[in-house]
């Protein structure tokens, strides 16, 4: 895409941009049906070594099914899943170099923390002293050394989550699957744990695939995100690209807040193209859209934080629209202004609250100007 050229590929971790790089995991035209219901619909996807890959989508879109196919609990109805050079379609779960951290943690209630972590190692017949060493190492990694002798029901939710993580990491899998690993934690602990997960992934140099329905979580931890809907992948890209250059209305809508204006394209020039969206309003100028042509229907999508709100008519800006403040959502560090346009549409603009509440510039019913640069938004179908 147009942004990847702007980055320095040598400095950044971006194996997906390197055509010589071989993926660790490859889904090739994978379809999974349960009876007549198609849960996964012809998905092709590559995941590279050392990636922290996120599957993001609403509940029921097929994320867990993707994971279960990787872990070996489901076999694809059609298509091939390979790990390294091997087709793993028919390999049973216990023979795969893949471990999974379960959504429910699935800790063995009759075993201590220690025994839970050692379970997989014993299964692989590691020598006793090496098991003890590895368990120690895992316990310190997740900071649970004091709790080694406890049973799972004697731990808090956060501690259980760490035991589950330690247990799934203990066997040094080639691929670690995390199914909504932080879903049961409260917001603060979740955010803290996201950073710990990233640290651990980086420290161990392992490949993680995480499932989440929380877009902020995906944006925070992932090297790349696959946005799924209804058994299909809508877009696979880095968090920045997904956020700044969503490829569809669905992705734009799913990730963060967005304003969408429908209209008709015209006035194509060297610099860009324009969108006519309402009688008597200036057309919206959009830069860099060589692929689009005049007289097409299109949507313009722009994030609220890219839009400025001013009382006076701004000068020298690419786009400006007049409106009236309908509502203000105050969330401490930010305020989101809901501005009513001449055609009745509500347009969101976000400003950070540098001043204290009492000194705020705008209030309800104020007439304001919205403005943004021609590069700030994208055109979608």
């Amino acid at each position: 895409m147009n942004t990847s050229s702007a980055k320095k590929p040598s400095a950044r971790f971006a194996p997906w941009d390197n055509p010589d790089e071989k993926p660790l995991v490859r889904f090739k035209n994978v379809t999974k049906r349960f009876g007549s219901f198609t849960a996964i619909d012809d998905i092709s996807l590559d995941i590279y070594e050392r990636e922290f890959f996120a599957l993001l989508g609403p509940s029921g879109c097929g994320k867990t099914t993707m994971m279960r196919m990787l872990a070996g609990f489901e076999t694809p109805s059609e298509g091939i899943i390979s790990l390294g050079d091997d087709d793993i379609g028919a390999v049973p779960p216990y023979k795969r170099p893949v471990n999974m951290m379960f959504q429910s943690y699935a800790l063995f209630p009759h075993m201590t923390v220690e025994a839970n972590i050692a379970f997989g190692l014993k299964q692989d017949k590691w020598p006793k002293n090496l098991i003890a060493e590895r368990v120690e190492e895992m316990l310190s990694l997740v900071q649970l050394r004091k709790f080694a002798k406890r049973k799972p029901h004697q731990l808090s939710g956060g501690q259980r989550q760490r035991v589950a993580l330690a247990r799934s990491l203990a066997k040094k899998p080639k691929l670690l699957l995390l199914d909504e690993p932080l879903g049961a934690l409260d917001k603060k602990l979740r955010e803290q744990t996201q950073f710990e997960l990233m640290d651990i992934q980086e420290k161990l140099g392992m490949t993680f695939v995480i499932v989440t329905h929380d877009q902020e979580e995906a944006m925070t931890v992932a090297s790349r995100i696959a946005v799924m809907d209804d058994g299909k992948i809508m877009q696979v890209a880095t968090p920045e690209v997904i956020y700044e250059y969503p490829n569809s209305r669905y992705v734009a809508d799913f990730i963060g807040d967005v304003n969408i204006i429908e209209g008709r394209l015209d006035h194509k020039t060297e610099e860009g193209i324009q969108l006519a969206w309402a009688e008597g309003e200036p057309e919206i100028k959009i830069a860099n859209n060589a692929s689009r042509s005049e007289n097409e229907n299109a949507c313009f999508a722009i994030r609220p934080e890219k839009v400025h709100v001013t009382r006076d008519e701004p000068q020298g800006v690419d786009n400006k629209i007049k409106g009236q403040i309908d509502d203000i959502a105050y969330v401490g560090n930010l305020s989101t202004y809901h501005v009513r346009l001449s055609n009745g549409m509500i347009f969101k603009a976000q400003e950070s609250n540098i001043r204290r509440l009492a000194n705020r510039e705008f209030t309800w019913e104020d007439h304001v100007w919205l403005s943004w640069r021609s590069t700030a938004g994208v055109l979608l179908d």
Binding site: G72, P92, P93, Y94, V98, N99, M100, A106, P109
Partner: protein
């Protein structure tokens, strides 16, 4: 004040029933066990008589002794009946477990819409009288019974098997009758087990079979213990099954008790046997209670 009285009544009622229906009869049996046999109605002496006042009570207490208990220790019959009861109860418990576990396991794994039906089928025999069901086994097990007819028809045996009136028939009867008590607690332990635990075990390198031994079985231990006690405790004192299906050499304490009571009309010895049987059962019952409490605590 009224609330206090209400609460007292509420707690008091079960204790009152316990007193009336357990402690009073037990006291009477205990008293008879300390008496001497007599050709009279009732067939023991002394009997409680308030007419002679204080002297009468003193004479009454003075006549009580432990003679019958001493007698029980001296005659081999009682010892061997106790031991044989324990053995038969134990073997039946193990057999019920071996048959009940796969049954409970497959019920717990069955599609959830089937489970109520399966559970119903397990409970269904309770709708018929226990006595009639045991009688029915006579028809099945006797020399010219259904089982032998079938076996000879299929050609497995040439001559009819002699099963009725042996210990084998007693085992069959006990296992058949008490199997639901084994299956139900096993089923409830297996059914509430989280399926993702087995997947986690497989994910960590277990085959399905080793996942069973390392996860399913240890987690079903509370069910195994509960089911075993529920079979073992009533099986020790079982009377109807050994009487109807067992042979003359099948020794069980319930049968011995019956013989003492009705054939020998030796109420004092029969009562002593009953008291000892109760003491024998108290140990597993207390163990069972303890285990249930622990299981309940673990669930919280």
């Amino acid at each position: 004040m009224d609330r206090k009285l209400g609460r007292f009544l509420l707690i008091g009622i079960p204790y009152f029933w316990l007193f009336l229906l357990f402690l009073v009869p037990f006291g009477i049996v205990l008293k008879i066990s300390l008496s001497d046999v007599a050709v009279a109605i009732p067939p023991y002496t002394p009997t409680f008589d308030l007419d002679n006042g204080w002297e009468g009570i003193k004479a009454f207490v003075g006549n009580l002794d432990f003679e019958n208990y001493v007698w029980l220790t001296e005659d081999d019959l009682y010892w061997s009946s106790y031991l044989s009861s324990l053995k038969i109860a134990f073997v039946s418990t193990v057999l019920s477990l071996l048959i009940g576990y796969p049954l409970a396991y497959s019920m717990a794994k069955a599609p959830s819409e089937w489970r109520p039906t399966l559970l119903m089928l397990i409970i269904l025999p309770f709708w018929t009288s226990f006595l009639i069901r045991v009688y029915a086994w006579i028809g099945i097990l006797k020399t010219e019974g259904l089982l032998n007819q079938l076996l000879m028809f299929v050609g497995v045996v040439d001559d009819p098997l002699h099963i009725l009136n042996t210990d084998t028939a007693v085992y069959i009867g006990i296992v058949y009758s008490y199997l639901p008590f084994m299956v139900l607690p096993l089923y409830s332990a297996l059914e509430k087990m989280d399926g993702s635990l087995l997947e986690a075990a497989q994910d960590l390198g277990c085959t399905a079979i080793s996942a069973f031994w390392k996860v399913t079985l240890p987690l079903s231990i509370p069910g195994i213990i509960a089911g075993s006690f529920l079979v073992f405790i009533p099986a020790i004192g079982e009377f109807v099954i050994p009487d109807l299906l067992g042979g003359s050499d099948t020794k069980m304490i319930g049968k011995t008790l019956w013989v003492e009571f009705f054939s020998n009309r030796d109420w004092p010895v029969a009562s002593a046997v009953a008291v000892l049987l109760l003491l024998l059962l108290i140990v597993p019952i207390v163990l069972f209670q303890k285990q249930q409490e622990r299981a309940q605590e673990a669930e919280q």
